[in-house]
């Protein structure tokens, strides 16, 4: 009555029962973990019942030729993945995620290898079956990882050297790649080993350069910019900022489902909000919650939007790198040209009644126009 499958599921059900009882006794009776373990147990009992009911589907036991089974690296890789996983639980999440990826990949490889080794009596056919199944996955993954390492290494080089040297290195590297590619294309008779050797030498050179670049660190101006927080220290006047964070123009995720879109059109400001059929002059924003506005400039001159944060300072603005605009109690977008838009996320920790002056959204250089922000 009990065969391999039913024994496995019975064992798993027993193990799950033990875990559930231990959890209830030693942890907490009504915690969510107990419910989850109960669900696992119920699922396993259900599977056990099905396996027993159908008599495991096939009573014919297949004789297994152990001679066909070869050595395998994957059990070792699975253990390595499990170790990473456990290490990640203690040290850092990245190791945990890496462990899961390694365990899943190693198990998949292991399962397919085990299956292919008993597919037939012909080892060559078995290996071919394994390759047919896994090569379409293995090659792109290995290529992606390899390219990733090369690109990352190249980026470390470019961040370490000066701007002018970077341009030279980029041109030289691109020229070398172009020349090598053209040579390979014009000489199809070249030995594969030679082509591979050239590619490997190139890749190793870039990786070595990347390691050296990472050791040197960011070039001086980038390091200073990061240290001084130029992109956080906003200058909210009519003048153009010395530093311009182009990334702020590309925050696509912020452009949907925002609190309001503030439009500057023909020198007039208005707020467009979902649910309101007409443009508004007042916006209600919830307290102590980041709210995002999109500023759209339809006028010819470059403009920025400034959000006043009121006399009761928003807690999030008190960071050392923000001292500049903390004094002014305001934050702003950058100057954007006609037709452009930029997101601005603001947090009002105190309500409007706590402020000495109304909270507003204004545009420097555009007089008499303001959107009032009401924070209940």
């Amino acid at each position: 009555m009990f065969k391999v499958g039913s024994k496995l599921f019975l064992g798993l059900s027993g193990f799950a029962s033990f875990n559930l009882v231990a959890y209830i006794i030693f942890v907490e009776r009504l915690a969510i973990g107990g419910v989850a373990l109960s669900m696992v147990l119920a699922a396993l009992v259900g599977l056990t019942a099905i396996v027993l009911l159908i008599n495991e589907g096939d009573s014919e036991s297949q004789p297994r030729d152990n001679a066909l089974t070869g050595a395998s690296l994957w059990p070792l890789m699975t253990v390595v993945g499990l170790m990473l996983l456990v290490l990640g639980l203690v040290v850092a999440q990245i190791y945990f995620v890496l462990g899961i990826v390694v365990v899943l990949a190693a198990l998949a490889e292991w399962l397919v290898q085990a299956w292919s080794e008993s597919a037939s009596d012909d080892p060559a056919h078995n290996e071919s079956a394994r390759q047919r199944l896994l090569h379409p996955i293995e090659f792109p993954v290995i290529a992606t990882l390899g390219l990733g390492v090369v690109i990352f290494s190249f980026s470390r080089i470019m961040l370490a050297i000066s701007k002018s040297a970077g341009a030279v290195v980029f041109i030289v590297a691109a020229t070398l790649v172009l020349l090598a590619g053209s040579w390979f294309a014009l000489r199809p008779a070249l030995k594969g080993a030679l082509v591979s050797a050239i590619c490997v030498v190139g890749a190793v050179g870039i990786v070595a350069g990347g390691i050296a670049g990472a050791g040197v660190g960011l070039r001086t101006d980038l390091a200073e910019a990061a240290e001084e927080g130029h992109y956080l220290h906003r200058e909210c006047g009519v003048e153009k900022s010395k530093y311009f964070d182009k990334k702020a123009m590309k925050t696509l995720s912020l452009r949907s489902n925002v609190t309001a879109i503030i439009e500057l059109r023909n020198g007039e400001l208005s707020a467009v909000m979902v649910g309101f059929n007409e443009p508004q002059q007042r916006v209600t924003a919830s307290r102590a919650n980041p709210v995002t506005f999109i500023f759209r400039n339809f006028d010819a001159a470059e403009r920025r939007m400034v959000a006043s944060l009121g006399s009761a300072m928003a807690a999030g603005m008190a960071a050392p790198e923000d001292e500049g605009h903390a004094e002014k109690n305001e934050t702003c977008t950058q100057l954007i040209p006609q037709g452009a838009e930029q997101a601005l996320t603001v947090k009002y920790d105190k309500p409007s009644v706590a402020q000495d002056a109304p909270l507003t959204l204004t545009v420097p250089g555009v007089a008499g126009q303001a959107i009032e922000v009401l924070v209940p």
Partner: protein, 398 residues
Amino acid sequence: MKSRRLALRTLAVTGTTAFLVSCATNAPQDTWQPKGPNAKMIDDLQQPVFAVAGIIGIIVAAAVGFAIWRYKDRGQPIPEQTHGKPALEITLTVIPALILAVVGVFTFRVIFDLARTDDTQLVINVTGQQWWWEYDYPVQNEWGITQPIISSGQLVMPVGTKVLLRETSRDVIHSYWIPALNGKRDAVPGRVHTLRLEADAPGIYAGQCTEFCGLSHANMRMEAVALSDEDFAKWVAGQQAGYRAPAEGTLAKEGESVFLNQCVRCHQVEGLKRADGTLAIAAPDENVWSGAAPNLTKLMSRNTFAGAMFDLLRDACRDSVWRADSAEFGAKYLAGVDETCLNVNDLRAWLRNAPEVKPMYANPALLADTNGKYRGMPNLGLSESDIDKLVAYLLTLK
């Protein structure tokens, strides 16, 4: 014989379960009883789809069950194995594809209809946090809302009006669901999602957070209160009325002092002033992880507290409001909570030790991840005398 007995037992258990489930009489969150056009739209779609899916499900389950029972291993020889029947396979692919295509056409139509915002008549901002909902009504002069109104626990809306909720969250993802009025919509930090609501008749419609959001997720409830236009106008006027301080020398006045000493750290009451005459501004951003606590300005105009987990009304008064007919409902709801109807036991228990009656992360030893800020209301260690005073004061917030 054994299998027949097993089948009979299975049938008996299934039948009894179905019978008991159908016996529920008080089921305010029943998805099968739509009370507004949006919920009816979903119901009109899901009824035929459920019927079609049910029939197909029964056919498939019966076929699988028959195959398991008829062809189980009894030691018989393995029959001849065949592979592939193109005509059958194509038929079995095309028929489900056609069914899904028909269902898809009607489903997309409903999805787009439910996503409309251009016909909105009233906008209400809804903000979720652990474990209560905040409602604020932006300025809308056509409804007499000249300054934002802020409330919690109960969403008040006019009957027969296309209301648009603009949802967001202050901490984790929550989900807003009043089954009788529409489907679910997630409230996601940093984003504004919209949900249409419309009620056919005056009444209270219950709902619950449907996205697991932490320890008291199951206690994060909400109620939508639908009022006639006239009653809604009265409610708006009442919410915008100024603060009335308790008379000097009363227990409520002493309660106001307790409130100023203890509660105003997190809870705002509009118009409440300190002894020096300055406005008392709550600072939940400094004390609570989500940065907000329920605004208690018109607490006794609501019927619930603590994230709608508890009723402010005693059972008899509550039943009187919930079961009132359409003509009387508005007046009964707008009467709010007075001393005779106050559910004083639950309110006192809450004030005495909130985490004991609603699970919250209020243990200071576990607050390292939140920089010492509470998730939910902590135990304030109030004396029974202070609780008496606070209850008397809270009763004046109407």
